[in-house]
Subunit: 213 residues, 2 copies
């Protein structure tokens, strides 16, 4: 059964990015530290075409599971790039170079229309101006029997609020960021029924899987 | 080695109390649901003098450990009661009746002086106007070879910011409260070095122990 899923890393105080995100510092101040555990994993190296290096422990399994069976990705405009407002031109093609690590169609939520484009490795980017329901529906249709991954704080919050997220792996690293962008924010008290379904304690990160209903 | 410790229950979105706390609803809207796991434990029944009822599983062990070896408690004024500003009189003696469950001296942080008083069962309440360092120091001296427990969001944040909290057990229940009072808030990015030292998955709650340095 295909799922709409997410894997997201947060600090002990709940931030998925530090303060003052910018083109130079897309994860915000201190935000790099959130992802150090992931950079070390074999699954991360493979996803980025760097072959057979990296760790192969419990955290690698979690990351591998999050990345496998992906048929489409939905992300917010902040995750796609630093440009706000109207697109000045079509030059910005994401943070990830000519061969992004998704290898499937990516749906970018934006208020500003833009033509779709393709990159190498099966990557294509499509811009959705009609809101989260339309983006998730398009991604599910594209993904067919595979999963849809959702990324970005605001996009995840919208997906949860719309009752469209099936599962989230919250990876928690024991650091305090103090400020920035929280994962669980701007949500109503009854936004979702949540069930903890798995707990995996990796060497540097704790992975908590929740089913949402 | 005695510790300054805390055990606190939060929602998936990080709240330790729901919105609109009041005398009628001291845990805020929805906040009762945070503590349902605790009310069921044998350690909770024993602490409140209700004898031998309750569950005796992993969560009971966690609660029992948090409550054992206590020599003093430090709490904020919001945890002590709903009265703000000057004390109108000395009538309010806390939420807990004639025989509070602490059975040791309790130090209440407040801006407004008030005389200490004693209740049954070894409970006494002392009011500290000189700030968190003075309150923790008084509690440690009183506790001697036993532990000091800290309670209340603001008091915990002050204790962490002052580098005085040794250990915290964060109990997480899989609910979304949406708003209220967050445990990890108003903290600097470098407020503490944190290390995850224990993970216990109880039937209804996940208990994460962190050492702070």
């Amino acid at each position: 059964m295909p799922k709409v899923k997410a894997q997201i890393t947060i600090s002990l105080d709940g931030y998925m990015a530090g303060p003052n995100q910018s083109a130079e510092n897309p994860l915000g101040e201190g935000g790099e530290a959130l992802h150090e555990w992931a950079f070390k994993q074999a699954a991360f190296s493979e996803m980025h075409g760097r072959g057979n290096e990296g760790e192969r422990g419990l955290s690698d399994d979690v990351l591998r599971t999050a990345l496998e069976n992906l048929g489409a990705v939905v992300m917010g405009r902040n995750m796609f790039g630093p440009i706000r407002g109207e697109w000045p031109d079509e030059e910005w093609k994401g943070w990830w170079g000519d061969d992004p690590p998704f290898h499937c169609p990516v749906y970018v939520l934006t208020h500003h229309p833009r033509d779709a484009f393709e990159l190498e490795g099966g990557n294509s980017f499509h811009f959705v101006t009609e809101g989260i329901e339309v983006a998730i529906a398009a991604a599910k249709e594209e993904a067919a029997e595979r999963d849809v991954a959702v990324g970005g704080a605001s996009t995840l919050q919208q997906t949860i609020a719309a009752g469209l997220l099936d599962e989230i792996v919250v990876t928690q690293v024991p650091i305090l960021l103090g400020s920035g962008e929280r994962l669980f924010d701007h949500l109503a008290a009854d936004a979702a029924e949540v069930e903890l379904t798995d707990v995996v304690r990796g060497a540097e990160a704790l992975h908590l899987t929740y089913r949402l209903g």
